[in-house]
Structures are given as C-alpha cells and as structure tokens.
Symmetry: C2
Subunit: 118 residues, 2 copies
C-alpha cells in the first residue's frame, strides 16, 4: 500500500522554517493571507531593490509557502497553507509530548500526595 498520507520530508520543514525566519518574508505571508498579489504590489511596502525582494519571493516559493503564475508581464503570487500547516503541526506535536509529560508529572504528584497521606 503506497503511503499517500506522507509525513512531511524533514527537508521541507527546514525550508519552511528558514523561510519564516525573516521579517520581510513573514510580512509577505501576512499580506498574502488576505489574497493574491502581483510581485510589484508585494514589493511596494519594502525599502529594498526589486531584485533583493525577488530573492525573498524565491525563498518563499521554494519552500512551498507561496505559488505563482505569470500572465503577460505580471506574476501573481498566492499563499499555500499546506506547508505552513505542516510546520504548525510539528510545533503542536512537540507541545503535546511536553504536555503529556506534564500530565504524567501531575499524576505522579497526585499519587505522591496520596502516598504521603497514608
């Protein structure tokens, strides 16, 4: 049976977290959360030469956080939330394990108190 529900390639997580580790790129994601936009529209808020900004976009696309297509001379970009969700799930999982531990600690402490009462 092929593994359709593939867990994310660790390398993908590398790229997603790397992409999010920059305020310019996070701001682009925030903008794109509200809907698609062209490259120059996305670039406008930033005090940066266009080629520099384009590198950020490239990082976002290569991480899978953004997709784009070109029509005529305009490239339109769109957020892709699949990878972002994978990152969120990785974090949630860590916390779940951690909280599982705290729960066991809580149970342990309760058990300890019961023992002390007897």
């Amino acid at each position: 049976m092929p593994n359709y529900q593939q867990s994310p390639d660790p390398h993908d997580l590398d790229n997603v977290f790397q992409a999010l580790a920059d305020p310019t790129r996070r701001a682009v994601m925030t903008r794109l959360s509200e809907g698609p936009a062209s490259v120059s529209e996305l670039a406008k808020p930033f005090d940066m030469a266009l080629p520099s900004f384009l590198q950020h976009l490239k990082v976002l696309e290569e991480s899978g956080l953004v997709s784009s297509k070109k029509q005529g001379r305009v490239r339109t970009c769109e957020a892709q939330f699949k990878r972002l969700s994978e990152a969120e799930e990785w974090i949630a999982h860590q916390r779940a394990v951690w909280e599982g531990r705290l729960d066991r600690l809580g149970a342990y402490l309760e058990a300890l108190q019961s023992t002390e009462k007897e």
Copy 2:
C-alpha cells in the same frame, strides 16, 4: 496602562524560526520534549564534534527555546515552550485570516448563486 500582554518582538520570531530551521536543532527540541538532559546526553545521537553541537545549543538558548543551568561540571538543558507557542500562534493567526477570507469567498459565492436564481 502598560502593555502586559506583550505581543512577541518580531526579532524573537526571527530567532525562533531560525533555530527551528535545522534538523539537528529540531531533534534536540524533540528530545527535550520528553524531559531535561545534559549536554553530552543530548549530543550523543549526532555524528558531530562537541563544539559544533554546542553551537546548535547556543542558537536554541539564544532563541529562548531552551534554558539551561550548570551544576558542577554538568549543564542540564530544558525546553521552554513559551517561544514555541508564540511561533505556533503566529502561524495560526495567518491561517485564521486566510480562512476568514475563504469564508467570505464562500459567502460571496452563495450570494452570487442566489442572485443568479432570481
């Protein structure tokens, strides 16, 4: 009124995402989710010189994802989930905005269909 519920400094998010953008450091977080450990205990699974590994730990500590204290010659490390939660919340917020948009799109499409029926 002072702003007690400080939203995370963007620079903190930079550091947290940067810290998570490396498989070694994510593996350390996963290990620490299960409980504290010493430096050499953490380093053992990795085929890497100790000073190299220590740099990874330093990145994790400086991002606030890990705290540590030294007793005698042993440094014990512990996961700190505050920063991790901030990162998770940033992602969740983006998705919320995105999904809000999809909801409005859904409402729009419904309204459009009603219009077409009339």
